[in-house]
């Protein structure tokens, strides 16, 4: 006699209750506030905003709290939240020339107008665990100065004046939005950049790294990396002009890459571009390298068959929400499919064994 | 803008449009089957059924072509207010509305070999609609059915384009039937 197993509903409820308890952890330890996460886990918040495609540090911090620090889970919460929000309109393109730079470095010129500004970087910290932090996380006030009022010019503009850098095509057309239209290949550069900006940091880092190691190497120098706040403006048709609707912090990276030139074009530098929400420079640099690798067709380069040159491969596999969902779905029941394969393999083996024993008998 | 432009939409958009879509979907899945729709009161000459279809399927992403029979400022204002859909030429339209005589059938997009779905859907306003006349066969139809089509040969040549082609919704007062490109017209 057999009684079938039931109880999916109760199992789910109990699992959720247990999850909530585990999220809170030991109740003798003070609960983490959303503001604490926002202020003290700011780089995690930035990553969640960037890959979640929603600029809202409080919501990103909440998502990190809810997801127990699993950033892909937090990104997922933000994506699911943003996708059904009503759209009131589109902003004007942000102008990074006007950025209030917290950090601005160039690897191509020792100095340039605006200067090198290291900003709050890990770059030259010695990666030694700071045991003092375990007991006391307070920091003395850092030296400060008044911010320059002049806009910081882009390093690329100096190369541009000499016609040494390939000019980008300008367009006032509204670019496609892959959150509103299904991805169609070949994708425009704007669509590729959107996809890369939302892409998983680890995936893009790996792709970018592969170009440095020779899989479609494109000799990138960081012409400029800048991080800071920019104004977001939106045209209000009723008013007839644009108004300031807020300020966001972004990281922008422009790489300068070699270009052989062709019969009709004298040699010229080309550019890779990265722009990401928040202070996210690893992602922005990676994005610029991958952007450049994906441009092989328009620049008349050879397809070397490298993964980072294959836009279908990169764009279809860079979204961590798609990837993690499909990867983890193999945990779900597959009794039916497995059963059908069981029957098939038993049948094939039976037939093969019958054939072998017949041969042996002859 | 006249006051009645603002009227005649769905009372409860989410619920009304769900019922309306089910009716339209069933019609498209079962060519020739006639459904009755509720929920919209568009200005003349647009029929109630055609009004419901526009409210259910159209928005700023779906350019509409209005045939001369239906191209009035009042109707344009009503559609703009309730759906936000832009008005375009026949070639660029995703939806079109008009009487059979006034629709330039050969001008509409029939899709491409790689994207046959990028084709127009024509809402054809009819004087009458009944299960009489042309015999229909094909997907969605058990054996055969009949529908009072405005013409026969145009739909035969449309079906011959499959998998490309236009899809049709016939409307009359508060009733509607559909004819996708797969239907073979006898």
């Amino acid at each position: 006699m057999y009684v079938a197993v039931k109880g999916g509903e109760r199992a789910i409820d109990n699992a959720h209750a247990w999850l909530a308890e585990e999220r809170r952890g030991d109740t003798d330890v003070a609960e983490l506030s959303v503001a604490q996460i926002r202020e003290q886990m700011a780089l995690a918040v930035n990553r969640v905003m960037a890959e979640g495609s929603l600029y809202d540090p409080d919501l990103a911090a909440l998502a990190i709290k809810q997801s127990r620090g699993d950033l892909i889970e937090a990104i997922f919460l933000i994506r699911a939240y943003r996708t059904t929000l009503p759209r009131f309109g589109g902003s004007n393109p942000i102008d990074t020339d006007t950025m209030q730079c917290d950090r601005r470095v160039s690897a191509t010129f020792k100095d340039a107008p605006g200067g090198q500004v290291l900003g709050p970087t890990f770059d030259y910290t010695h990666r030694l665990l700071d045991f003092k932090l375990a007991a006391d996380g307070e920091a003395p006030k850092a030296p400060s100065t008044t911010a320059p009022t002049e806009p910081t010019p882009h390093i690329m503009s100096f190369l541009d004046r000499e016609n040494l850098i390939q000019p980008e095509k300008t367009s006032d057309a509204t670019p496609d939005d892959l959150t509103r239209k299904p991805l169609e290949l070949p994708a425009s550069r704007a669509l590729r950049l959107q996809s890369l900006a939302r892409a998983d940091e680890g995936f893009i880092l790996g792709m970018a790294y592969s170009t440095q190691r020779g899989y479609a190497r494109n000799h990138a120098f960081v012409a400029e990396l800048r991080i800071g706040a920019v104004a977001v403006e939106m045209d209000i048709p009723e008013l007839g002009f644009a108004i300031d609707i807020g300020e966001i912090t972004v990281t922008e990276c422009e790489t300068v890459n070699q270009f052989q030139g062709s019969k009709t074009e004298p040699p010229q530098f080309t550019r890779g571009y990265g722009l990401v929400f928040g202070m996210t420079e690893r992602k922005a640099i990676s994005m610029a390298l991958v952007d450049r690798a994906l441009r092989w067709k328009e620049l008349g380069e050879d397809n070397l068959g490298a993964p980072a040159q294959d836009e279908e491969f990169v764009l279809y596999h860079s979204d961590n929400i798609q990837a993690t969902g499909f990867l983890e779905h193999i945990k779900l029941p597959h009794y039916v499919d497995f059963q059908s394969e069981l029957e098939l393999i038993r049948k094939l083996r039976r037939e093969a064994q019958d054939a072998m024993s017949q041969e042996a008998a002859q | 803008m006249q006051a009645h432009v603002l009227e005649g939409g769905f009372d409860n958009h989410a619920v009304d449009s769900s019922h309306a879509f089910r009716a339209v979907m069933t019609a498209m899945a079962r060519p020739g089957q006639i459904a009755t729709l509720q929920g919209a009161l568009p200005p003349a000459p647009l029929s109630k059924a055609a009004g419901v279809v526009l409210l259910t399927l159209c928005d700023p992403e779906t350019p509409i072509y209005l045939a001369p029979s239906h191209d009035s400022q009042q109707l344009r204002d009503w559609i703009t207010f309730h759906t936000g859909a832009p008005f375009v030429t026949a070639e660029a339209a995703i939806f079109a509305v008009g009487t059979w005589q006034d629709l330039p059938v050969s001008a509409f997009a029939i899709g491409t070999a790689e994207y046959p779905d990028r084709s127009a859907t024509l809402i054809v306003e009819c004087e009458s609609l009944s299960n009489t006349g042309a015999v229909l066969r094909g997907p969605g139809i058990k054996d055969q059915t009949a529908l009072s089509l405005p013409k026969t040969d145009a739909f035969q040549s449309n079906a011959a384009l499959f998998p490309l082609g236009l899809d049709f919704i016939f409307t009359c007062s508060d009733r509607l039937a559909a004819l996708p490109r797969t239907t073979r017209v006898g």
């Binding site: 057999y2 079938a4 109880g7 969902g325 098939l344 | -």
Partner: protein, 289 residues
Amino acid sequence: MSDYNFAYLDEQTKRMIRRAILKGLAIPGYQVPFASREMPMPYGWGTGGVQVSAAILTPDDTFKVIDQGADDTTNAVSIRRFFQKTAGVAVTEATTEASVIQTRHRIPEQDLRDDQILVYQVPIPEPLRFLEPSEVETRKMHSLEEYGLMHVKLYEDISQHGDIATAYAYPVKVEGRYVMDPSPIPKFDNPKLEMAGIQLFGAGREQRIYAIPPYTQVVSLDFDDYPFQPTKADHACDLCGAEDSYLDELIVDDAGGRMFMCSDTDYCTSRRKNGHVGAQGVPFKEDAA
């Protein structure tokens, strides 16, 4: 969840999905691209089916969800609850009472009526994907009706194994034109793809919707000398005795003892209610499994 719209999705998203469904019905078996949204459940867990269901449900519907044929598998429970909460629809486990059935990997044993709709969750909608990984290439193949690669694959199976080695997600040709993936249903279910109800297929991650209208010709690919054969375990259900239903195999003791039971739990329960008893079953009693 009063913060959310009826059936969760915003109206503009629903309209976009609804337009894709209509084109899908007009071009049976063709995969219509749609701008799939992130849903509050993971990609790969039925987001395509959920988006299609959200676009077609009305408050008057009675909704049933099955996964592997069963109503009480955890993901089926999760999806059913989602629509109870966001659409307030009635739910049922009885196939005959449902107006919309969302399914993963099975077609119910009970024939569907013409007033019923079956919504499939689809992981990989492209039947040619494992033969050709590039979307650009497979789209071209569909446009040219170039399906030689598929026939070569099936034929190579026969030459290597003496049989077609595809047991689920067995490819079909719809209305003589498009080769289609019926989702990972066992090939036992393929003959039921020609039915009275409307069938809608949603692949969320892959951003495709496709459809089979009622009474549409659906042919499982095969060869004259190797005709298509829908197969199941050569047993009867040990609970209800059914000989015509698709069976799950269970390992019931440490010695590896097996038993078989209907994968369609509603079919099995209904039969037991009607007095059918299998080899290891007990007469049906309310609330006892």
